[in-house]
Amino acid sequence: MPDTKVRDLSAAIEMIEPGSSIAMGLALEHAIPFAAGHELIRQGTDDLTLIGPISDLLFDQLVAADLVDRVRAAWVGNVSAGTGYNFRRAVEDGDLEVENHSNFSIALSLKAAAMGVPYLPTRSLLGSDIFDESDRFREAEDPYSGDRLALVPAIRPDWAIVHVQRASPYGDAHFWGNSGVTFEGVKAAKNTLVVAEEIVDSDVIKSDPSRTAITRESVTTVAEVPYGAHPSPLAGRYNRDNEYYVDYAERTNDLADAADWLEEWVYSVPDRTTYMEKIERNLSVSEPTVAAEVEYGK
């Protein structure tokens, strides 16, 4: 029997060293590991490099807490409201280095690492300033057709942090709904923290092995955090808390206000139970759709 990898969230986050590169927000607006991000802020894990396609609010919050040296991403902002003011301020003040990507180039960077190859070729990027300004993307000639292609080198994060519906204590996980680059990120990273709504017996995971795209040997530690993706939605579990995003935009345009917001929503909130008490809106799934039956067996 393998050993359990279950830790409480703060112990799991303590495993992440300052100066680490972390891929998160990998399912785009879905299943963003906000609880883990807030714990990073409370622990003050700094000098971070953040990696992801579009981060929605999470990257902006970590930047607000002054933990981030560098962002490697395609889009950083607030999907409901537009601008991420802390990100914008940090870049304009020269406090934050940004490596500009497209969503596909981030996806291919992680996919290359996940596949164990140094790069993947693409027909995207060519003609853009994202390509032209980069010293990472290279132009290559397809030896078969002579076509020009762009090469996207692998990114291998120190950590991936992902939020899923359920995981075994060993780290095998079921995640459904759109996945973005979640599975590529897990396979690309040197370590993975799986934050699960629910930790279940291994037999639950093994009852549906085709749903298991994250397996134990990629997973360093597992934490159970119900509502850990709030305010982002999680398929089958809870809806997006849009007012939170709008409120955040209104309250973080200014540096001092952003500090107040962090104090109220992160520093003074010791755990997820206390956090959820602050949410008055009903985000529960009102009309569940049950997946059609699937059987295995012998």
């Binding site: 395609a74 500009n100 596909f104 995207s124 060519l126 003609g127 853009s128 759709t289």
Partner: protein, 258 residues
């Protein structure tokens, strides 16, 4: 008055919806295109399919308002909820008929900037590409939606996030940019096409808008349909009541369209 019966953004959504042909596979971005696809598939394009870079594939409107492509109503009863590589691979294979884009800046060849702009001496950082660069490079055609603000129309984009027709002519081919590039720009005042050289021209002005008021918004000599096809600049069709009803069904509080 017709012009008071709907908002500028409702008109843009209606115009964008018309750009989705029946049977198209449409790459739908955030905000207005989210609603435009739902309108199209509910009216003339019942066989259209939508794909979202987050991994969602849908063949019908979501049953509930969408702030984002990942809101649960967009995942519920989707045809498929898959990965970004899966969706982007469809784009790279050439299987996406139409993609939607927006921008902070656009130039005459439809190049778009969503990365950074200057305002006086200040460099303003914008959120970045997201999937826009990929859609711009790889869709068979693109449709651009933008508020009609003169500062957005520039001689040269500060940063070419999402290539349009580049420097015009055969620029895309010479630079191995695979897809077809911009076909239509819809602003809050007019609809534009792109001529054989890849340069935008006014196709139609929206109800209540005077062509003369528009040409001054551009820092270059804006071409019109008359210059390109010989036909007079048209008048954009206002949204029908059916389409307006649908827009207000899909955006009941006007979060995106008011």
């Amino acid at each position: 008055m017709e012009s008071e019966a709907y908002t500028d953004r409702e008109l843009m959504v209606a115009a964008a919806a018309r750009e989705i042909d029946d049977g198209d596979v449409a790459f739908v971005g955030m905000r207005l295109p989210l609603i435009a696809f739902q309108v199209a598939v509910s009216t003339h394009a019942t066989n259209a399919l939508s794909v979202f870079e987050s991994g969602v594939v849908r063949d019908d409107p979501a049953d509930g308002f969408l702030h984002t492509m990942c809101d649960l109503p967009n995942l519920d009863h989707a045809v498929s909820t898959t990965s970004m590589i899966d969706i982007m691979s469809r784009l790279q294979r050439g299987d996406i008929d139409v993609g939607f884009l927006g921008g902070a800046e656009i130039d005459r060849y439809g190049n778009l900037n969503t990365t950074r702009v200057s305002s006086g001496s200040r460099q303003i950082r914008l959120p970045g590409s997201g999937g826009a660069c990929d859609i711009a490079c790889l869709s068979q055609r693109t449709v651009i939606l933008m508020p009609h603000e003169p500062r957005r129309f520039v001689q040269n984009v500060t940063y070419n996030t999402s290539p349009g027709h580049g420097e015009g002519g055969d620029w895309r081919e010479r630079n191995s940019v695979a897809g077809g590039g911009p076909e239509t720009l819809v602003t809050t005042k007019a609809t534009f096409s792109f001529d054989d050289d890849g340069e935008m021209y006014v196709e139609s002005v929206h109800p209540g808008v005077d062509l003369d008021d528009i040409v001054d918004d551009f820092p270059w000599d804006l071409r019109t349909a008359k210059d390109v096809t010989g036909d007079a600049v048209g008048r954009t069709d206002p949204p029908s009541q059916t389409v307006l009803d649908l827009i207000r069904k899909f955006d009941p509080d006007g979060f995106w369209t008011r």
